[in-house]
Amino acid sequence: MILRLRSTKLGKIRFVGHRDLGRVWERALRRCGAPVAFTSGFTPRPRISFGLALPMGAESLAEYVDVEMDPAFGELPDPAVILPQLCEFMPDGVDVTGYCIVDRSATSLQEVVTSCTWELWGPEIAADEVARACELIAADTVSVERERKGATRIDDVRPLIIDLQPSSDGLRLIAELATTGRALRPAELAGVAFPGCDRRDVRVLRTHQWVHGDHTETGVSEDSRSPREHSTSYGDSRREVISLPVAVPASTLVVGA
């Protein structure tokens, strides 16, 4: 069985890389005494797999990790017990906000997610710049210079931009970007959306990871707290990796603004 967890990554911890944070998860799970399954061989590794890597420096309300449990190593843990422990053992800024149980045969997180919603903002980005950035959605093509195998080439990334909207205060760009194929990274979007701004000064927050289609195994969480209410104009077959029946006030989770 696989315990699929959703967590945040907020605050100073945003500077810890994806792989490094993976090691921190391993230690925290070990401290809980969770019967994590292991790979075989002389150097057994815990069977923990992470979803789409978050760029260094970005924050998130929607990080996912799959932890495979092996009943041979002990009783399967009660999520109500283990999740608060995990929150305690993980560094400040990492909170487990939802979980579900999926089968071992479930599609991996990397494959199941088709798009992510991001918020982009910065100290020098005003509301009119955000409004102008949203106009990109009307363009036929959006050209971005990208490196591929050492060579620079111009890609049209317009098909990867699913939605662009301003936040309610107008100061953040809310973007839904496709993750299929060669995904568009938020920093790359920042380069075209805010051309006058050093992209290293653009702050990035992932708010959702979306699943299209009918992957039934994603399941419904019994203890989930919504990362943040997200108003979107289209209610298609899209839903979050872990669905969110319960909403909590955004104020408990918002940082950085």
Binding site: K12, I13, F15, V16, G17, D20, L21, R23, V24, E26, R27, A28, L29, R30, R31, C32, G33, A34, P35, V36, F38, F42, T43, P44, M56, G57, F73, G74, F89, P91, D92, G93, R200, D201
Partner: protein, 657 residues
């Protein structure tokens, strides 16, 4: 409290490995909202003058961090040398050196205490002070500037940095930091007036050396006298030693970092000190006598540490861990606990650094490695029995071959052998003996597996203060290069033997500082001003900076590095002692030149080196028999025996103190 985090944060998007600068480690102690004014706690900034990855695991720093933070009237935070990219960002945005916990500017602390583990980091000390906005010269510091204190092995000859530090602590810090804190608290409460008056008081704390309280006289090149400036300042400063390690079960809350560091595992110190008596080894000489931690405490520290950090790997640290009297029961205990822990499926890996060269040790390593055979390291140090007697590393060829046989037969395919070259009395035959040993070990390996390989690592010997070899003239860079090429020629066609060597140029720079006097301070300052920081890193090291600085200061490399010292010469650290009598060191030096080895005083009679008698302390070892399975240190052939009791002096401590 003024955090500079808001100014640091934008820089972190522009540097590599930004996690180095955020703190947040498991075990980190976030300071409360204390007021950092005169009424506030004594604020220590514990600084490691190398990268975060190297500095974070440092146990000395972690121990002091915890002991200080346990005091209600003190706080301790940490800082590490920012890497070049961050350094440039900080300088161009006027961000000062900061602590990783509260991101408070270094200059706001009462003390900045550097842990110095080697000489080549001295330029980083200057860089960090400068980045903190603290004047690098002691004499320029105002009473409000932080006190700059150093400790660690390389602080045993602080003369080359005498102009830059307010004080050096000799020896172990657990107890003395309390005395320093008390004194600083009083000074703070009184408004931090005269710095000199305070330093004079500080100089009276045993183990604390305040360079500015001593006058050093030279006649020409020769040092003729070191004398205290005031009658109440002690003429010699002795190191501090903790009598019973069992009273200091630290760290209790080990730091588990969020990014990969050099030793990414739990460390538990099983004993301190080593009396094997290797004559080249400064660490062994300055940490005498041996003080073992009670086995039960070791077990508790391991199980608590693993539980607290979530690590599944533990290192049992000391200068020679296989010598720990209760190594076997401790190891078995860890393995048993590990089996019993839920979820971990018996995967705790035990790391035994500094292995002895014998079959017993390999057997132990096989037991603890959980089937992993990643590589074993042995340090025979010299290529011939004759030379090993000179340096007092008393292992026989049979010990080494027995260890190799044992390792290859138990599944290891890769052995690493450490050697020194440029040792006293070394001839080319001795040097070539290294190749011979390596060849024979590889042959033993090939009788087990075609994949067997032997990595030979050769370092250039740098004589260190407070050792019997402190009088020896270091080999020149050319001579070291010549010896290394002898070895390259002798090994390059040998199947399975790979030779690596330490850059002789770096050994030479280390030699300039290691036995330097106060005049070397200007050399260090010049190298630093020329941009020579991170000198332990090959990509930043250039010998030319050091030799140019020596020329500019009118100092002779030959005089400082390559010259043999005379018996009656006053050494720059003459007024500082690690407890070893100078005549003991001299006699041991003479014994070395006569190829005469001495046994380990843990299990044989005392040589009266001075530390036990002088300090009223004694060895604390749980077993009065030497360990099984090797001749090392006992002068007997134990390589195929079990426990062989030593017939003399069954109780080691009688009549010593």
């Amino acid at each position: 409290m003024s955090s500079v985090w808001a100014r640091v944060e934008p820089l972190l998007a522009r540097v590599q490995k930004p996690a180095r600068y955020i703190g947040c480690e498991d075990g980190a102690i976030a300071p409360g909202q204390e007021i950092f004014g005169p009424e506030g706690p004594v604020a220590w900034l514990l600084a490691y003058p190398d990268t975060y990855e190297i500095g974070l695991p440092n146990q000395g720093l972690q121990i002091l961090y915890e002991i200080l933070n346990e005091r209600p009237d003190a706080v301790a935070e940490r800082t590490y040398a920012p890497w070049q990219d961050m350094n440039a960002q900080m300088r161009s945005h006027s961000v000062p050196l900061f602590s990783v916990e509260s991101h408070r500017p270094a200059a706001e602390f009462d003390l900045i205490a550097f842990n110095l583990s080697s000489e080549l980091v001295f330029t980083n000390l200057l860089e960090m002070l400068d980045l903190a906005g603290v004047p690098i010269h002691t004499e320029r510091r105002a009473p409000t500037d932080p006190l700059v204190i150093v400790g660690g092995h390389a602080a045993f000859n602080p003369e080359p940095i005498a102009d830059f530090i307010d004080a050096a602590v000799l020896g172990e810090g657990e107890e003395v930091i309390a005395e320093i804190t008390d004194l600083v608290r009083g000074w703070k409460r009184a408004g931090r007036t005269s710095r000199e008056g305070f330093l004079r008081e500080l100089a009276k704390i045993p183990g604390v050396y305040v360079p500015s309280m001593y006058m050093v006289h030279f006649e020409g090149e020769r040092l003729v006298a070191v004398e205290p400036r005031f009658s109440d300042v002690p003429a010699t400063v002795d190191k501090r030693t903790v009598a019973d390690l069992g009273q200091w079960p630290y760290p209790k809350r080990p730091l588990a970092p969020l990014t990969e560091v050099v030793h990414d595992r739990l460390s538990v110190e099983v004993f301190r000190g080593c009396t094997r008596g290797c004559r080249f080894c400064q660490a062994g000489m300055i940490t005498r006598p041996v003080r073992e931690r009670p086995a039960e405490q070791v077990r508790v520290m391991i199980s608590e540490g693993l539980r607290r950090t979530g690590y599944n790997e533990v290192s049992l640290t000391s200068l020679s861990t296989a010598d720990f009297s209760e190594i076997e029961p401790v190891v078995r205990g860890i393995l048993a606990d590990s089996e019993a822990r839920p979820g971990s499926s018996g995967t705790t890996t035990i790391n035994l650094p500094s292995l002895r060269v014998d079959a017993f040790t390999v057997g132990l390593a096989a037991e603890v490695n959980n089937g992993r055979r990643s590589g074993l390291t042995f340090a025979p140090e010299a290529g011939s029995w004759r030379l090993r007697q000179v340096i007092n590393k008393l292992i026989t060829e049979e010990d080494l071959y027995g260890a190799a046989e044992s390792a290859f037969s138990q599944g290891w395919t890769r052995l690493k052998l450490y050697f020194l070259t440029g040792l006293p009395t070394e001839t080319d035959d001795d040097t070539l003996g290294i190749a011979e040993l390596a060849r024979n070990v590889a042959a033993i390996g090939h009788s087990h597996t075609g994949r067997a390989s032997v990595n030979v690592s050769v370092g250039g010997f740098v004589p260190k203060p407070h050792t019997p070899f402190q009088w020896f003239g270091q080999n020149t860079e050319n001579e070291l290069h010549r010896k290394i090429s002898l070895l390259r020629n002798a090994t390059h066609k040998v199947r399975g033997v790979n030779l690596k060597w330490h850059d002789p140029a770096a050994s030479m720079a280390e030699g300039i500082i290691s036995r330097g006097d106060r005049r070397i301070g200007k050399v260090i300052e010049r190298v630093w001003r020329e941009g020579g920081i991170f000198q332990e890193w090959g990509e930043f090291f250039r010998l030319g900076r050091w030799t140019d600085a020596m020329v500019a200061e009118g100092l002779s490399v030959d005089w400082y590095v390559h010259r043999h010292r005379q018996a009656d010469e006053i050494l720059p650290w003459e007024h500082l002692t690690a407890g070893l009598h100078k005549d003991f060191l001299w006699d041991d030096w003479q014994a070395a030149l006569h190829e005469h080895g001495v046994e380990d005083c843990r299990w044989t009679p005392c040589y009266d080196c001075g530390v036990c008698t002088g300090f009223g302390i004694e060895h604390i070892v749980a077993s009065n028999t030497p360990p099984a399975g090797g001749s090392q240190g006992t002068g007997q052939d134990l390589s195929r025996g079990g426990l062989i009791p030593v017939s003399v002096a069954p109780v080691l401590t009688g009549g010593r103190s």
